[in-house]
């Protein structure tokens, strides 16, 4: 992320009035703009925000009884929160960043005093905000329409949700660094997300899957996010209960941020 630029020239000490207050003001300003852009853009509002709860409504109408020993609605709700995380923090973020890069918006922003880190932090927090809101909508739909239960323990769920959001956003930044064209970005992303969600059990039970598919699922980050969500949402168990899952999720997230740090560019690739 242009680290070479930051070290190439000696930095001047910022003026007093440009200290933390100014940085915070810039961050909040950019966060507001990110939110405005997200909700104004019909494609992102529909495909990123509405799609997972909508899929939950459809699947919830199909499944009955129990899945893996828990009521189907509860299990689906948890799976859909996981799918929403991948769809919003990974898919939506990656596609948005590629479109902005290829359109030259990112390049234009680099000529303003807005620091790169502030911009990226605002993108991340804005994405987390959308995801959390989406989760709440899905939960309410589940409770009112399918008689699903609320979280066993929100204090257990929230850290899982934040870890998942930050890890998948890392994968989103990483993917955005690797995707070259805006036109192909949503096809590539869906080619990753849909099979991953299917294998990880977002859409229903995976027990009857062939062993090969289960083996693949064993390395996917979404499998572990859904495990953690299930433990927290249904049984009130926190992050420390399954450190292996936390480790796998973190490893994927860090890998994404590392790829982004090495490969992310602000300028269009295609021109």
């Amino acid at each position: 992320m242009r680290a070479e630029a930051d070290t190439a020239a000696p930095r001047r000490a910022p003026a007093r009035e440009e200290g933390t207050t100014r940085s915070l003001a810039l961050f909040l300003h950019e966060l507001r703009m990110q939110q405005l852009m997200f909700w104004r853009n019909r494609e992102s509002a529909v495909f990123v925000f509405i799609f997972p709860p909508m899929l939950f409504l459809l699947l919830g109408a199909v499944y009955d009884g129990t899945i893996d020993g828990v009521p189907a609605a509860d299990r689906l709700l948890v799976g859909m929160i996981g799918y929403g995380c991948a769809n919003t923090a990974f898919g939506g973020l990656a596609i948005t960043m590629v479109i902005r890069r290829e359109g030259g918006i990112l390049k234009r922003l680099r000529a303003t005093p807005l620091p790169a880190a502030t911009y990226l932090a605002a993108v991340l927090v804005s994405t987390l905000f959308v995801f959390v809101l989406q989760m709440l909508v899905t939960v309410l739909l589940g409770i009112f329409l399918y008689d699903a239960r609320g979280a066993e323990s929100w204090p257990a769920v929230i850290p899982v949700v934040l870890l998942g959001g930050v890890a998948f956003a890392g994968l989103g930044f990483g993917a955005a660094s690797l995707i070259r064209s805006a036109e192909g970005s949503s096809a590539v992303i869906n080619l990753v997300i849909l099979p991953m969600a299917f294998l990880s059990g977002s859409f229903g039970p995976t027990r009857s899957y062939p062993e090969v598919l289960q083996k693949i699922a064993d390395v996917l980050p979404l499998t572990y996010l859904i495990d953690l969500l299930q433990a927290a949402y249904l049984h009130g168990r926190g992050l420390t209960h399954d450190l292996t899952a936390v480790g796998v999720l973190l490893a994927w997230g860090i890998a994404g941020y590392v790829v982004a740090a090495k490969r992310f560019g602000w300028q269009p690739r295609e021109r």
Binding site: A5, A8, R12, M33, M37, R40, I105, R108
Partner: protein
Amino acid sequence: MSSAAAISVRGLRKAYDGREAVRGIDFDVLAGEVFGLLGPNGAGKTTTVEILEGYRERDGGDVRVLGVDPWGSDRRHRERIGVVLQQSELPPSLSVREVHLMFAGYYAEPRDVDEVLELVGLAEKASERVKTLSGGQKRRLDLGIALVGDPELVFLDEPTTGFDPAARRTAWELVRSLRSLGKTILLTTHYLDEAQQLADRVAVIREGSLVRIGTPAELIGAAPQVEIRYRDDGREVVVATAEPTRVLADLTARAVAEGRELEGLEVRRPTLEDVYLELVDGDES
């Protein structure tokens, strides 16, 4: 910096994959002047401007922009410059006013947004979405967000591309008013009349080297020939001469004596365009 140079370029070099795009150019842009950078596509114009804007790292030479090395420049430096890129989209679903507010928020001491909208002639479009704007209106939006931070130095990379003639005149007025506010402007353009109208000084770049620098009058003055054109029996006749008065007197005297009209008679000084074309493709025509 106490020096009057807003931009100083010395021995600037840049190569891509071994191909030299800029081969050691020198020029200064003085504070408060409008400086035009001209050259055909691939001459190294955009590479030069992007190095000055801080987008590209140079391979050699020295570059100062407002006294600072633009590569790796900090937030405080970017408070002082405004940029109009050749191509850049802006958030399509935001309104013109919202985009201005977005960029105003990036600067410590922005200009009043409504004032800027008025200045670039977008006040009536303030609540329109970006995606509904015409090409010329989008360019004015680019210009508006370049000015909203109240910069000392403005980079304009082909700012009037896609404008209709009336919009170009308006944009020219705008550049002149920026100049009268004391802003320094580095302008690249492929419209030569634009450079002639606006630039205090012009540099012509060809194949990565600077071939000529001076005021438009100096560049034109270096080519003393005047062209006299007329039609003779439908055939176009062009006489290039350093003594237009004598040639014209001879021509008209002969025509009057023969009772003939010199059809389409025209006397013209070379424009910057003629000089420019001669400079950039000297071997042709």
